[in-house]
């Protein structure tokens, strides 16, 4: 009998530990999910006011500015419908170019400027980051819908 009780106690303890571990795991998982928004969604105020998220689209032509001393840069990300001002301090990836696709991760600062702490551009000339492609597609769909409604 004693051995059996011991075993049951152990199984219960094991399940409890696993349950706690699973809860903590899922909590950490939820708090680290980074959602993606298109420039249009950000302009419409759909993006979170606090916390990190990603935006994606094209780097608007002629929008790239470097602040003269240091590594801070400013550029605009557009989905052709709306564009969002982004600031970033650091070194841009090799394939970052005006008119090319880009994804940036960071949060909204004051004056609706997106403060990026990561800028991603992939390693293939012809490859568009999926998020950026998605943003352009959505803007296009909305656009044609709007014209259709007229």
């Amino acid at each position: 009998m004693k051995a059996r009780h011991k075993r049951i106690a152990l199984i219960v303890a094991g399940i409890a530990v696993l349950a706690i571990a699973a809860t903590l795991l899922l909590q950490s998982f939820r708090s680290n999910l980074v959602f993606f928004f298109t420039p249009t969604q950000v302009a419409n105020g759909e993006a979170p006011k606090e916390g990190n998220f990603r935006i994606g689209g094209l780097v608007e032509n002629g929008s790239l500015e470097r602040l003269s001393n240091g590594t801070q840069v400013k550029f605009k990300v557009t989905d052709t419908a709306k564009s969002i001002q982004v600031v970033y301090t650091g070194i841009l990836p090799d394939l970052f170019k005006e008119g090319k696709g880009v994804v940036a991760q960071g949060k909204l600062g004051k004056d609706k400027v997106f403060e990026a702490d990561q800028v991603l551009a992939k390693h293939d000339e012809n490859y568009m980051p999926p998020e950026a492609a998605d943003a352009l597609e959505k803007a296009k769909a909305n656009n044609s819908y709007a014209t259709g409604a007229k």
């Binding site: 011991k6 152990l10 696993l18 571990a21 903590l24 795991l25 950490s28 998982f29 708090s31 680290n32 999910l33 980074v34 959602f35 993606f36 990190n52 990603r54 470097r66 001393n69 240091g70 590594t71 301090t89 650091g90 070194i91 841009l92 090799d94 394939l95 390693h123 293939d124 000339e125 490859y127 999926p130 998020e131 492609a133 998605d134």
Partner: protein
Amino acid sequence: MIPEIGHFSLILAFLFALIQSTLPFTGLAKNNQTFMNLAVPAARAQSILIAVSFLCLDYAFYSNDFSVLYVASTSNSNLPIIYRLAAIWGGHEGSMLLWVSILAIWTMAVTFFAKELPLRFYSTLIAVMGLVSVGLLMFILFTSNPFERLIPAALDGRDLNPLLQDPGMVFHPPLLYMGYVGFSVAFAFAIAALLDGRLDVTWARWTRPWTTAAWIFLTLGIALGSRWAYYELGWGGWWFWDAVENASFMPWLVGTALIHSLAVTEKRNAFKAWTVLLSICAFSLSLLGTFLVRSGVLTSVHAFASDPSRGMFILLFLAIVIGGALVLFALRAPTVGLGEKFDVVSRESLLLTNNVVLIVATGSVLLGTLYPLLIDAMGMGKISVGPPYFDAVFVAIMAPGIFLMGIGPVARWKKATLPELATKLRWAMAVSLVSALLVPSVLGKLTLMIFVGLLMAFWVMSSVFVALRIRLLASQNSTLLDKLKEITPAFYGMLVAHFGLAVFIFGVTMVKGYESEQDLRMQIGESVNVRGFDFRFDGVKPIRGPNYVAKQGLFYVTNQGAEHATLTPEKRLYPVQGAIMTEASISTGVMRDLYVSLGEELEQGAWSVRIYIKPFVQWIWMGALLMAIGGVLTLVDRRYRPISKKLNVESPGV
């Protein structure tokens, strides 16, 4: 003509694989020895034909045959010869051919030692490997033929992605695939055991070296890939929790659980059903990894949906292999039995906990990897799971496992007692606690993560010595040398591998805790001091490589006035693809790496520059290397001698 020969021999290989995978089963059902005996010759013929096919494709790369579509899309006549030969696995089709070629190597190796096993068993084993081969060959022949012609031929190729033009490309994919595909042997052993109803100590003894060998390759492959990323991507990271990396890491975690579980099965005849299940899981995750990396599902689930034939095929194949294996497991596991009983406090239960920890860790990585894909596939938006999730969860899950890892090797089989374990390990605990506080106080920075990381590293290191000491004390021999000789290579292997993990943890903790990263703007002649090192930027000069042009920066590094290193990072332009690449320049050292890479050219000759100091970063890969060496030591153990000898003949050098 040569590509057609390659294609044709691949088709023939497929036919032989069909024979290899069907007739032995028929033989088994009808108890017909002739049919069973066909397994070996069919498998060898299949392997040789695949090798021929592989060589034909590599010849097309060697001879710049741009009438082959695959060659035209991944190679270029200006590409240095070694990268032309490695470009064969630079794209999808060739990677799949590499996959089956490596399966052929493993199959061939199995046929050479198979005669030691009972006929019924080894013919089943080889037939199961044949089934895997059939699936993959069908996949190549129907959806990803690397020999497809391009008419008219291209004048020149589109070049190998410049990122891949690196010595890492030559070794990383074959090593990784040797590991991935090597788990197919353990898988075949498990299926054969289920079909045969035979699973005992002898079975575990046969399976173990194969599984360990696959695990060694996978360990080296992942470590090499990580080191490659570190110097090639130009921003000093060594692990990104990227889906492609996770895809290789998950089989490694389960494979690690498997080699521990196999140890218990061999030594104690326990954990039998569990070992079989792990074998199935390890190979399933290898296949899942192939699917994730090769179906295009990671680039975009929509790309996958618009050209679904490849992805659907692998998905179907996955479903058949995993589903079939699990159904078989459900039906037959009772015949295999659970094995010997053991006490709550015993080495068995510690190893069981280790297994649970590794599986939960795998589950957490799987969740983080697949969840974004699932959400995207269901049209619920795009999300990504940040590295902080993986870092936090992974450390939290592994920490208790690492703690138990110090206890396991000194615990008795079957029944141990807690007071006894505490007595054995109290000094190890004291030493590691003190060191984990001492090191940060000397370096002047202490965080919880640093403390936990160092504690785990020192704990494992010191408990390795405790385990060795206990063995030596138990020995009857008089001199120390005789005592050391008495201990088996397998035991040393375990100690070395555990020590390697400790070295790895130490490296990770030191880099994460004490690295210094600076992105700055530097004028020509300007100096900057980072952690006592003075970096002087002496400008850039143009240089010309075999198939690229570059601007090479010159950084002169001094340490307290004394000359320390000259670093020459490059910004390269590969004209064929118009791709720009950053080549970091690194001064490696045991205590720290100095890492410099060029950002962009700013006005008046100034550049934006990354200057990193990475303390003990090399220990990360040294630790992985030690783990692999530990694995090799267990392979040379006498009790596997007849098997390991042949293994050495058949598999290419580590």
